[in-house]
């Protein structure tokens, strides 16, 4: 713990782990680390997309902008919904592999070789 008036390194401190052993989700720990990085990057790309949208909306409205404008921007209801829909679609794109695995679980398709063999016969 820091002294009361010592300056804090907020970047370093913010990454502190929670007490309690973290479950291993994968046999290879590299995969656990990789998930952490990939989805942190996913959040960053999402934030970048939102920032880009803010810039475009401000330019549309005023033809010019400042950083302060970007920081102060709050979407109205319609813009909030448009951005929400865009984020939803973005999440759907990056998560397609997971979503299609759920679909595949439901469908229980046979191996493709089964189909290849059947079509060669029938």
């Amino acid at each position: 713990m820091s002294a009361p008036d010592a300056p804090l390194d907020w970047v370093e401190l913010s990454g502190r782990r929670a007490k309690g052993r973290r479950p291993d989700y994968f046999d290879n720990p590299a995969l656990d680390r990789l998930y952490s990085t990939v989805f942190a990057l996913a959040a960053e790309v999402s934030a970048l997309r939102e920032r880009q949208d803010t810039i475009e909306r401000l330019l549309d409205a005023k033809g010019t902008l400042s950083r302060a404008d970007i920081e102060a921007y709050e979407p109205d209801r319609a813009a909030g919904e448009e951005r929400g829909l865009a984020t939803r679609a973005y999440v759907a794109r990056i998560m397609r592999g997971f979503q299609q695995e759920v679909e595949a679980l439901e469908a229980s398709d046979p191996p493709i070789m089964d189909v290849v063999e059947r079509l060669s016969r029938e």
């Binding site: 002294a3 990454g15 959040a43 939803r88 759920v102």
Partner: protein, 406 residues
Amino acid sequence: MAKDLPPPYTALTRHEMMPRVTHDEAARFNFLTHFNRYLSGTIGAGNKLAYEKRVLPAFRAEHGRDPEHRYEVRDAMNRDAWHRMWSALKRNSMEMRQHFGRQVVLRQLDELDAMARQYNEHSGQLELDPAIEQPHYQTAVDIHCQPGGYHGEERPGDVTVGANYDVGLFATTGGALGGLNDGGGQAVVNWVKAERPDWSPKRILDIGCTIGHNAVPIAQAFPDAEVIAIDTAAASLRYGAARAAAMGVRNIRFVQASGEDLARWTDGHFDWVQTTMFLHELSTKAMPRILAEAHRVLAPGGLILHIEQPQYSDAMPLFEQFMRDWDAFNNNEPFWSAMHGQDLKQVMADAGFPQDAQFVAGVRAVVDPAIFPPSPDEGKEDYGRAAIWNAYGAWKPLAAETQVAA
């Protein structure tokens, strides 16, 4: 807001103590609200499919019977590739929520600490007691994977954990708790006002209040009452008291105290004793001690009310119990499983509340529907996260009734 979209972070009410967010910090939380909804909704179904299509059949083949306990389901599911991936995603989402929230709070901690000090010095609404020790069930792990738990400090007297709790609740619940994260407290108020429209409690105790987000709406709804909100964690109370003062709510005091020892209050002092999402963060020995103390300080005719996720019962499928248990093992909620497995009615009865004085009611978060979407309903239940709860309560019998019953 369209039904299937969570509101943007900027829809939150920014009271004076609420940490300020930059454009991109808000955007990161927006990502998490969508990501969490996606995990529980769109791909959450994969867990049940994996269970029914391969995990359960494999279990039956191996054991010649069905699982008999949620832990057997858990052991089997923890070997399933899909459930492991899904759990890794969800764990990472929780960790990102903490990291993002801590970046927001820590970079402006000087301002937040100074503001909290100022509010708390002037309001008189904060009473700390350094003699209060953190109970072992609060320190064994950092609950919710929140670094520092509810009590940790980055430096003496800071508000980091309280402020971080406040900024991130939105992302964890997908905005389901409303603009002030107080949908739970508002739900309690609505239930009480519907149940006893003419009741006007004068003294109300909230045990385990953390930052008071569920106690403040009670104080607002009963302006003539005095609300005492207690917690063992000074770091959360400092933020909570300043938050209430910043919101202009004066009839609530934040007192550092343990629910296990309410000796400073006489028998029958309170008309209403409330806990909200608190019992599952205790231990098997602490819970009955707290309930017995709650019974003692509650006046005859008074109300005790606990808001919790539903208890497990034989009627609840083992798979659902297992899913509801996820946070116990993956999100540092170590009493969650044991607590929800208990017969709460019996535990309450042992604490002095007769079974026939008890009730269970369903409540859901009260939010402004113009801005905030309703909590996902049963079909898309985020096991253990949805802002739909059970209220376990009792009206404490008047002395005469107790004698008749005896």
